[in-house]
């Protein structure tokens, strides 16, 4: 049973290949260095050429021609004329000072020098490669000279001579004559670059450095171990040919009893040397030596002696040994369902490398994952909205109850007559809070379609109760406030009536006094007016002044009379006033004011709750992409549950997108 988070799964499988067979292979063998005894014609020791003072020395200075160079210098030091053919790169990096200071040396450059060789008089020697020197017989010597002349006069590109401060190379001057082509029958001959060994009959031995294997089947074939020509070599092995190789720096060779030939390598031409019977005998000894490589067909890998061998297979750039176990890492494999992830494997397994004794395949299974662009399923959002509404309503109810609790305290403190009523409200309030707390622990999405309706009903009831509680509180507060206002208004009325009754007598006395005084003034004024009618001018003037003064006094006393009469009238009305209660203005509903507290409005019918017809999944998350519903689970433990839910919701069960 899988446990933990759902992730990619690393899988592997091991196969044994001990019985596998290689169709063809070069197998490297551990051999000791073959011993060599100089023959009469083929040697490894240079020896000295018989001095021929009058004869010029002809030298071919090919790659690795140190021995030939030494022979050259020895001869040149005697003052004899030396003609040297060198390759295109000779002397370009560093001048050969010894050669430069030799008295008579003429050097010509060839596009390619096939071999190192020295010719003097009737003797000639070739450095055939691998440190071996082949002495030429008289016929070969003459043929070599002719070939040298052809190369010297027809093929050279540049020339220089010794004796100066440096080799002053210049284009090779025109030849003074034609050198005849060397006949095909000549024992030494410069041939086209595609020349190949001739012969190679059944009893022969061949040493071929490049190109194709021979079409004939010699007894022993030395052919470069490597990735090429396995098919041709396999046919030869099937025909009984011993196919071998050791890189000894030898040119192409072929010996067959009393004959043989050497074919030196070259890209522009090849030098062919036909061997005499004795030379062929010496060369045969070379080709009988134990090999470093041997070509096999149908090789079983599991053979014990192959454990330390090196193999060179077709199309491989290098030889290598067996590999105990090859690890092959395969590409990721995508599981079709979460349930099948552990058993998912690649459709096909690649072949192991041919030299692997065992192979271990390793791959990663990627579980089915929700698409990255998948979105939340609408069912989830609908439930979430329902939950959010649920939480909001509960919060509003709780807020209202908390506000009501504050009001209740304030009312209780303000209206002592309501203390007993407040105790009743407190019990109701506590009950409502408890029910709200209980509902807050529940969610419609958890309750599912069936439980959600009951929850919503309970919530509606609580909201109604909260509203009623609020209303009752306000009502009680309003009544207490009205009573208090009545008492206040009544005290003010009593006070006003009492004050009027107390002030009326004084006012009436004052009125009587003022009326008297007014009448006095009016009399005095009438007298003066009468006096005026008879008064002289001077008296008139005084009378006029007294008349104006008495008029003013009369006006003032009249105003006084009017004021007093008004006060008396007002006091009389105040003393006669009836008590009338004026209720205080009703405060506007605070719920309608901004920032007012919430008072849930009671509705006769419950709100139409949009309850989804499917519940949310118990595990995982539900997402949708292009019409496909996905149930994303995180752990293997959710697999079984998830499968049933996915089935119910018509969803595909998947791992998270980063699994």
């Amino acid at each position: 049973m899988m446990q933990g988070p759902i992730q990619r799964m690393l899988c592997n499988r091991v196969l044994s290949r001990a019985d596998e067979r290689l169709p063809t292979a070069w197998i490297g063998e551990a051999t000791h260095q073959p011993t060599w005894t100089d023959g009469m014609w083929l040697t490894r020791t240079p020896g000295r050429m018989a001095p021929a003072v009058s004869a010029p020395l002809l030298v071919l200075l090919g790659d690795g021609g140190d021995d030939a160079r030494a022979a050259l210098l020895a001869h040149a030091s005697s003052g004899a004329r030396v003609y040297v053919l060198v390759g295109p790169g000779w002397g370009k990096d560093q001048a050969d000072n010894q050669l430069l200071h030799a008295p008579r040396v003429l050097i010509r450059r060839l596009p390619e020098v096939p071999v190192s060789a020295v010719h003097c008089g009737t003797e000639a020697r070739l450095w055939v490669g691998g440190g071996f020197i082949l002495r030429l017989d008289t016929t070969q010597t003459e043929a070599f000279r002719q070939t040298f002349l052809r190369l010297f006069w027809h093929e050279a590109t540049e020339e220089a001579w010794s004796g100066g401060r440096q080799f002053a190379w210049r284009p090779a001057r025109e030849r003074p004559f034609d050198v005849p082509e060397v006949p095909a029958s000549s024992s030494v001959r410069w041939e086209p670059a595609d020349a190949r060994l001739t012969g190679g009959s059944r009893g022969s031995m061949m040493h071929v450095n490049a190109g194709l294997p021979p079409e004939t089947a010699p007894r022993r074939l030395w052919f470069p171990a490597g990735p090429n020509q396995h098919e041709g070599l396999a046919k030869l092995v099937e025909a009984g040919v011993e196919v071998l190789w050791a890189d000894r720096g030898l040119p192409d060779l072929q010996v067959n009893g009393g004959a043989g030939e050497v074919l030196f390598p070259g890209t522009r031409g090849r030098l062919r040397l036909r061997l005499t019977a004795i030379q062929a005998h010496d060369v045969a000894a070379l080709l009988e030596a134990p090999p470093a490589w041997r070509f096999h067909i149908n090789v079983r890998l599991g053979e014990a002696h192959h454990r330390s061998a090196r193999f060179w297979l077709p199309s491989e750039t290098t030889a290598r040994g067996l590999e105990a176990e090859q690890l092959i890492k395969l590409p990721e494999v995508h599981g079709t369902s979460l349930r099948e992830v552990p058993s998912t494997s690649p459709a096909s397994l690649p072949a192991a490398q041919p030299l692997a004794l065992a192979v271990r395949y390793e791959w990663t299974v990627v579980p089915p994952r929700v698409p990255a662009a998948a979105e939340e399923d609408p069912l989830v959002s609908r439930w979430r909205k329902l939950d959010e509404d649920w939480i909001a309503r509960l919060a509003r109810v709780r807020d209202a109850l908390i506000a009501a609790e504050g009001d209740r305290g304030r009312i209780g403190r303000g209206f002592s007559r309501l203390v007993s009523a407040m105790l009743g409200f407190e019990r109701t309030h506590g009950g409502l809070l408890a029910r709200v707390g209980e509902l807050e622990t529940q969610r419609p999405s958890v309750a599912g379609p069936s439980g959600t309706s009951a929850l919503l009903t309970q919530l509606g009831e609580i909201e109604d109760a909260a509203r009623k509680l609020q209303a009752d509180l306000e009502d009680a507060e309003r009544k207490a406030r009205d009573e208090e206002e009545r008492e206040k208004q009544h005290a003010a009325w009593r006070s006003r009536v009492d004050a009027a009754n107390r002030d009326l007598p004084d006012r009436r006395t004052a009125l009587t006094t003022a009326e008297s005084r007014h009448a006095t003034i009016a009399g005095e004024l009438g007298g003066i007016e009468e006096s005026l009618k008879s008064a002289n001018k001077e008296a008139r003037k005084d009378l006029a002044a007294s008349q104006r003064k008495l008029s003013d006094d009369l006006q003032r006393s009249l105003k006084e009379l009017n004021r007093l009469r008004g006060e008396i009238k007002s006091l009389e009305q105040q003393a006669d006033e009836k008590f009338e209660f004026r209720p205080p203005p009703v405060a506007k509903n605070r719920s309608s004011q901004s920032g007012g507290r919430f008072v849930p409005s009671a509705s006769s019918t419950p709100p139409a709750a949009q309850v989804p017809d499917q519940p949310l999944p118990e595990v995982g998350s539900l997402r949708v992409h292009k019409g496909q519903r996905y149930l994303v689970i995180q752990t293997w433990e959710q697999l079984t549950t998830g499968e049933s839910i996915a089935s119910r919701l018509s969803a595909k069960l998947v791992a998270p997108e980063n699994a």
């Binding site: 010029p56 002809l58 004329r81 003609y83 008579r104 003429l106 002719q146 040298f148 002349l149 010297f152 006069w153 001579w161 004796g163 100066g164 001057r173 025109e174 030849r175 003074p176 004559f177 034609d178 050198v179 005849p180 082509e181 060397v182 006949p183 095909a184 029958s185």
Partner: protein, 557 residues
């Protein structure tokens, strides 16, 4: 050999009473003189009547008498030089008398000559005391051509005088006159010409200086005789004149480099004299044929020429080419009679030991020869002396010794090696020039003497070659090297033989058989020839270049 002699000639100017004649167009007299030339160079009545039909005898006699007066014929009617002139030019003298201004010059080459003349108006100033004898008394009866106007010809018929001494009024002149006399010994031709300036009448007695115009004239000197005369005089200090060879034998040391090759030398002579024609100073004698004065001089000269040739055209040279070159540089030259000797190969190398390029150019071709040179070939070569004939010749080698006297047929017989040829190819880059084509004729004749029906092909370079001439000799169209070989041209010559029976073979030759020369004209295939070295080595088909091999196989014909 040539030289230019120059000398200044004084010009005098006089005014004199004279009887002159101007050459004017008289075609009837020209016709008469030509008719006379066709009838025995005599002007007779019949000749006059032949030229002027209808003229009676008396009239004819009058004509003849007038011709005598004019100087066209002598008293017996024989045509004189002036008559010949009239016959050639249709111009005859028209006499007149008067006073003339004349410019006169005198020299042994040109005689006493009136260079120019002008008619003067006579007056009566009676200046008889001013009349002086003429410094130059002009030749009478000789037609002069004016140096002012080449078309004006005139002659002084007479200078009338009372006391036999021609005289005139001598005038001033600023005229100058120089004689330039060119002696071309090789062409046996001399030519002299006057140049200078002279007064030209401008009217109203005024003159202006004008350059002289004078057509070259020849004196007809025997120049080689003159050379012999000079040899004993001014040339004796330069060398010894060899009259038979018309050559000056000189010491080698006196020669400049270019003179070694040209066999001509330029010498400056302080003064020379031409008998009867005056003496001339500072004469430069150009291209004097020279030869060696001694055998030693000849040997040094020959070697110097060889040295020079090798330097001018550096490159590898086979011993055969060196020998041939030495022969070419000495034979048919003044050196040949002294039989100079080409040193042996070793001696040449010794001489070139300080010059690496020369050393290798001579040593390598011998050391690295595909056909080793015979010992006598490496030995000295004495020009003109036949080379020794080898007692035994290596098989497959035909060697024509230097001056061996072989005929072309002998060579062809040896090269055919006893087979009857069906077809022969001569591959030779230089089948051109008359001498070589003459030898080609002999070669073809030599082959056809052995096989009358043999077809002869020629492959040669197309530079300067005349393929039509070759085809006329061989009856087959030659092919060009470029067409056959492209850029890989062979250096040597080849003769390929395709027998009527058996395999074909070739001869690789060190020299061209066409370089032989016949000492006689129109020789035949059996005529002994002068040969330079030629060694032919027989080669098989697979030793030949591909194109030649292909020819032997039947292609490329």
């Amino acid at each position: 050999m040539r030289c230019v002699l120059t000398t200044d000639i004084p010009v005098s100017r006089v005014a004199a009473f004279a009887e002159m004649a101007w050459m004017v167009r008289r075609p009837e007299l020209g016709l008469l003189c030509r008719t006379a030339r066709e009838h025995g160079n005599r002007i007779t009545t019949a000749v006059v009547q032949s030229a002027l039909p209808g003229l009676p005898d008396a009239g004819a006699n009058n004509v003849i008498a007038w011709c005598k007066v004019l100087g066209l014929c002598d008293a017996r009617g024989g045509l004189m030089a002036l008559g010949e002139d009239v016959a050639d030019s249709d111009e005859a003298p028209e006499p007149e008398q008067g006073v003339y201004g004349m410019w006169l010059a005198e020299h042994p080459v040109l005689g006493r000559r009136v260079l120019a003349v002008e008619r003067l108006a006579s007056n009566r100033d009676h200046r008889f005391e001013s009349i002086e004898p003429l410094m130059v008394d002009p030749d009478r009866g000789k037609v002069f051509r004016s140096v002012l106007n080449g078309k004006e010809r005139f002659m002084v018929r007479d200078l009338p005088t009372n006391h036999g001494q021609p005289g005139g009024l001598v005038g001033d002149t600023r005229a100058t006159c120089r004689l330039r006399w060119t002696l071309d010994f090789d062409q046996a031709r001399d030519q002299w010409q006057l140049d200078g300036v002279i007064e030209a009448p401008q009217g109203n007695g005024k003159h202006a200086m004008r350059p002289m115009q004078h057509e070259p004239e020849s004196d007809g000197l025997d120049l080689w005789n003159l050379a012999s005369t000079w040899a004993t005089g001014p040339l004796s200090s330069v060398g010894r004149w060899q009259a038979g060879e018309r050559r000056l034998a000189v010491a080698f040391n006196s020669l400049a480099e270019a003179e070694l090759d040209s066999f001509r030398k330029t010498v400056t002579l302080r003064r020379v004299e031409i008998p009867g024609k005056g003496a001339y100073d500072n004469v430069t004698l150009e291209d004097v044929p020279v030869g060696p004065a001694s055998t030693q001089d000849a040997q040094r000269w020959a070697m110097a020429r060889l040295e020079r040739h090798l330097s001018v055209k550096p490159g590898y040279r086979s011993r055969a080419e060196v020998r041939e070159q030495f022969a070419q540089l000495t034979e048919d030259t003044a050196l040949e009679v002294f039989a100079p000797t080409l040193p042996s190969h070793d001696d040449l190398l010794l001489q070139a030991s300080k010059d690496p390029e020369r050393f290798w150019s001579l040593a390598a071709p011998v050391d690295l020869s595909p056909f080793p040179a015979a010992s006598d070939e490496l030995g000295p070569l004495r020009i003109g002396s036949p080379a020794p004939i080898a007692a035994t010749e290596a098989p497959g080698v035909v060697r024509v010794p230097y001056r061996g006297g072989w005929s072309m047929r002998k060579l062809m017989d040896r090269l055919l090696s006893g087979v009857v040829p069906r077809r022969v190819l001569l591959c030779d880059r230089y089948v051109r020039g008359d001498d070589n084509l003459d030898m080609l004729k002999l070669l073809v004749a030599g082959l056809r003497a052995a096989a009358p029906n043999v077809a002869v092909d020629v492959w040669t370079g197309d530079e300067e070659a005349d393929f039509k001439k070759i085809q006329s000799i061989t009856s087959a169209s030659p092919r060009s090297y470029r067409e056959v070989f492209g850029r890989s041209l062979p250096h040597d010559r080849y003769l390929l033989v395709l027998p009527s029976q058996g395999h074909g073979f070739g001869w690789h030759m060190s020299n061209s058989p066409l370089h032989a020369r016949a000492d006689v004209k129109s020789g035949g295939p059996d005529t002994p020839l002068r040969w330079k070295d030629l060694m032919a080595t027989r080669v098989s088909a697979d030793e030949l270049e591909p194109a030649l091999r292909q020819w032997l196989a039947g292609g490329g014909r």
